[in-house]
Amino acid sequence: MTPRRNRMLSVITLLVGVSLAAVFGLRGCDDLKSYFFDPSQVVAGAVKGDQSFRLGGMVKDGSFIRVPESLDVSFVVTDFAQEVKVLYNGLLPDLFREGQGVVATGKLNQYGEFVAENILAKHDENYMPPEVADSLKQKPPETDY
């Protein structure tokens, strides 16, 4: 085997080895890498006990309620299979609105409601001018969220 062949083989071996390590390493710690749980996972009991976690999904249309003269709000987060009710006291991000994605950090209370300490808006991958969005509203948008 020539030295060049040898080095070529060592580069390939290195790449295969590191890729395998990455695949197994990343598979091993699935919970760490998902930034949030969706309502189906939460309802199925993916989160144990009293620990803090992030809940992500869509704010259900028509579910947003604000207690007058306060920062207390509640809304429902859905993944179109399951729903979780969220209670929050604080400032909402500008892009927070019904029908848009949201990621909330907090804990479940004894009634299975999610008490959020922090709320982030999740923007989806659709970018369009307002006129296009208006015309899309006429027909229900396709979504695989």
Binding site: S19, Q100, V132, A133
Partner: protein, 247 residues
């Protein structure tokens, strides 16, 4: 294939590369400047606001090209390093050395513009989700490659050490790309699709693609310029460089 191999072997000669690159740079630089200026005008002035984000969407015209090209830079650097390692080609190591700081700068730009966009859109500058974290790892890899190369007295040793790090780190590139599909992330999934329908309106897609093209050409010109400097430094004791300096 034969013509390509001839070109490849000619290019491995530093003086030949130096002259060729000197002629090629304007052919990349001028189109890059014109395209970027046109794309900046279209993106920052003419393109519409987004229905959700308003004017904030315009950060995309810098963020997306930087992020894409940061991954392109890393992949090119890894390929150049592998060529340099396998064929013992000094010019390939010089190319890899020239790419690394440019790639680090693009990664930094992608992270900073992303943070500036994240604050008004998400409500936070930074989260440790898979996409953001893997892009930060890319920045550290670029910095590691630069530092490792300079950590050796002997240039050839530094080149080889940096090459190995560059090749090992290339596994991070598919992780960055697919992170938004494999795991739940705060970062949205890809808007621009080659095969299917893009999630971005054509009035915004056109300036974006022009900007990507402008950035790419500029980057090629920049890498050629930086490689020329790198070649001069590395060959400073050779006769062709001495003659070049004296003439």
């Amino acid at each position: 294939m034969n013509a390509f191999m001839t070109w490849f072997y000619q290019m491995s000669s530093p003086p030949h590369f130096y002259r060729w690159a000197g002629r090629a740079i304007p052919w990349f630089m001028w189109p890059a400047l014109i395209l970027s200026a046109v794309a900046a005008y279209l993106g920052l002035v003419r393109s519409p606001e987004d229905y959700q984000m308003g004017h904030t969407v315009r950060i995309m015209y810098v963020h997306v090209p930087s992020a894409w090209l940061s991954m392109w830079c890393y992949t090119s650097m890894a390929v150049a390093s592998a060529i340099g390692w396998i064929w013992r080609m000094k010019l390939a190591h010089a190319v890899a050395a020239a790419i690394a700081p440019a790639g680090a700068a693009l990664t930094f730009l992608a992270l900073v513009t992303g943070a500036i966009w994240g604050k008004p859109t998400w409500g936070t500058y930074w989260v440790w989700d898979a996409r953001l974290t893997s892009e930060l790892v890319l920045l550290f890899l670029f910095m590691g490659v630069v530092l490792l190369r300079n950590a050796f007295e002997d240039r050839a040793q530094g080149d080889r050490a940096a090459a190995i790090l560059a090749i090992v780190g290339v596994v991070n590139v598919p992780i960055i790309h697919y992170s938004v599909n494999w795991w739940n992330t705060l970062h949205q999934s890809a808007s621009v699709s080659v095969a299917g329908k893009s999630g971005i309106d054509s009035s915004m897609l056109m300036p974006l693609l022009l900007m990507v093209l402008g950035f790419t050409l500029y980057l090629v010109a920049l890498i050629l310029m930086r490689t020329r400097n790198e070649v001069l430094l590395r060959e400073s004791r050779k006769r062709w460089v001495q003659e070049l300096v004296q003439s």
